[in-house]
Amino acid sequence: MTNVWVFAQEAAGAPTTGTLELLTKARSLGTVTAFVGGDASGIAAALGEYGASKVYATGDLGGKLPGVAVSAAMKAVIDGGDSPDVILFPQNYEGRDVMSRLSVKLDRTVLTNNVDISVGDGVSVTTPIFGGNTLVTTKFSGSAPHLAAFRPKSFAAESAGGAAPEVVAAPVPELGATGGATVTAVHVEASSGPKLDEAAIVVSGGRGLGEADKYAMVEELAKLLKGAPGASRAIVDAGWVPYSYQVGQTGKVVKPGVYIAAGISGATQHMVGMKGSKNIIAINKDKEAPIFGIADLGIVGDVHKVLPKLIEALQARG
């Protein structure tokens, strides 16, 4: 039986959606252990419900960053004799940091940005490249544990109705010099309306808007459609909107029913974050823009003319 670990994360007292997605996939591969960087008492039952039969928990990290602390705790458990065949990580900040540190401790390669995994003749993972038009399948050579990270929404989360798991303490060992970084304050940037990665409709703006003030049109349209506003990396880097708005490779992956791209040309970096949307509407003045290659409806025109009329028409409908 394949022994699968999932690096499990918590937000607001519940496992993150990404954690539940990975647990759902993991239980189709073998027996599942969730590894929590923190106190697991509030989320253990939910982890069990989605397929974990065992939960390791480090307890409070005391301000240490998860990368160095959780990887050290994982290494201690593995050295203690419970060694998994494969560890699944979410492709996000903490997931990447923990797997990176662990890969050095175990001297194992890492495979990131995956969307699928299969276990049979070895462990193989699949990752899309070139904006998703090519799928590369890679098999781990060498010995387990194999470390792989998966993009959000690669798998659908489904409850298995599992029982409460056994919870085992996995304390963080002495970190020495590597544990020097300490979090002294946490800031949460407020946002209103539905969450970007959960909204049924997403309206995103890009560099084609021309200037920061024009982003208000994107927010207005999103509000009218009861959706969430998003952004391309270009305007996040330019400081027009906070990073939490970013859709793409290094931002959020969204798969809404309707995605409206306004003034976005469609760089690979952006497309991998939204091409899973059911319906895509693009407005761009360059008819050669790559975004039109994946759009269900494309308007070749100036966003400064199209958006105000669209907003007005929707307002008129009440």
């Binding site: 399948t137 050579s141 946490v186 990396r233 895509i280 407005i283």
Partner: protein
């Protein structure tokens, strides 16, 4: 204060990517340029050394073909010198091997107070090398830094998170990975470009650094299949004649979302 910046030289992102038919890895054989993501790290390093009132910025890079044009760009911005690890045996190296090679290059330079890397490269975007490098070097790290201040022997960093940001303190020496947009990279001046031509780049092989195996032999992974993803059906593309918004309204009505 001495700072080492990890820079990657990549194929121009404006040209379409292609896979080598034999090794099924990204072709990186032509002219390489400085990854734009790394220009932020170079700029940050130059500013921190300036603020400290002394020290210098050095570069470490790895490329299979001896290419230095990307490193020259960083030298033209103001970095003092660099180490390039160039070795055909490094072709196909995984992120872990890359981190070990860069760590050896950092040690060849005698280490530094601070190591800076981008959060991920623009061509491979594995995104693990900075944190792996910190672990190989035995250093503390702060990833996804969006604001960095040096205060005596320690760093104060605003670290990007999914929900906002954390304030983090970290003693030096340390490694940070910096997000794009953290500073505004300077354009190399003509004087800088001329000066860069004579700045030293020490080109070494993996063997010189005592790294083996590298490349395919050491990668721990094997590409078994490359397939085309299912293409989306072509949509309706129309020129806006002033009534384009009506097309969108009709499309949304049809989906019953309005």
């Amino acid at each position: 204060m001495n700072v080492i910046v990890c820079v990657k030289q990549i194929p121009d992102p404006a040209t379409p990517g292609a896979l080598d038919a034999g090794t099924k890895t990204l072709k990186r054989d032509g002219k390489l340029i400085l990854d734009e993501s790394d220009s932020y790290g170079v700029e940050m390093a130059l500013q921190l050394v300036d603020a400290a009132g002394g020290g210098e910025v050095s570069l470490v890079s790895m490329a299979p073909n001896g290419e230095v044009s990307g490193m020259r760009t960083a030298l033209a911005m103001g970095a003092a010198k660099g180490v390039l690890v160039s070795d055909p045996a490094l072709q196909g190296s995984d992120a872990l091997t890359t981190a070990k090679v860069l760590a050896a290059a950092v040690n060849k330079l005698g280490g530094a107070d601070l190591i800076i890397a981008a959060t991920e490269s623009s061509d491979g975007y594995t995104g693990t090398v900075p944190e792996q490098l910190a672990e190989v070097l035995g250093l503390p790290s702060v990833t996804f830094a969006k604001k960095v201040v040096v205060d005596g022997g320690s760093l104060k960093v605003d670290r990007q998170t999914e929900e906002g940001y954390d304030e983090v303190t970290c003693p030096l020496p340390a490694l940070i990975s910096v997000t794009a947009g953290v500073v505004e990279p300077r354009y190399p001046s003509f004087k800088g470009i001329m000066a860069a031509k004579s700045k030293p780049i020490d080109t070494v092989t993996a063997g010189d650094l005592g790294i083996s195996p590298a490349g395919w032999a050491g990668a721990g992974q094997e590409i078994v299949d490359v397939a085309q993803a299912e293409a989306r059906a072509a949509g309706e593309i129309v020129e806006d004649d002033g009534e384009g918004f009506n097309k969108i309204v009709a499309f949304l009505e049809n989906l019953k979302v309005i």
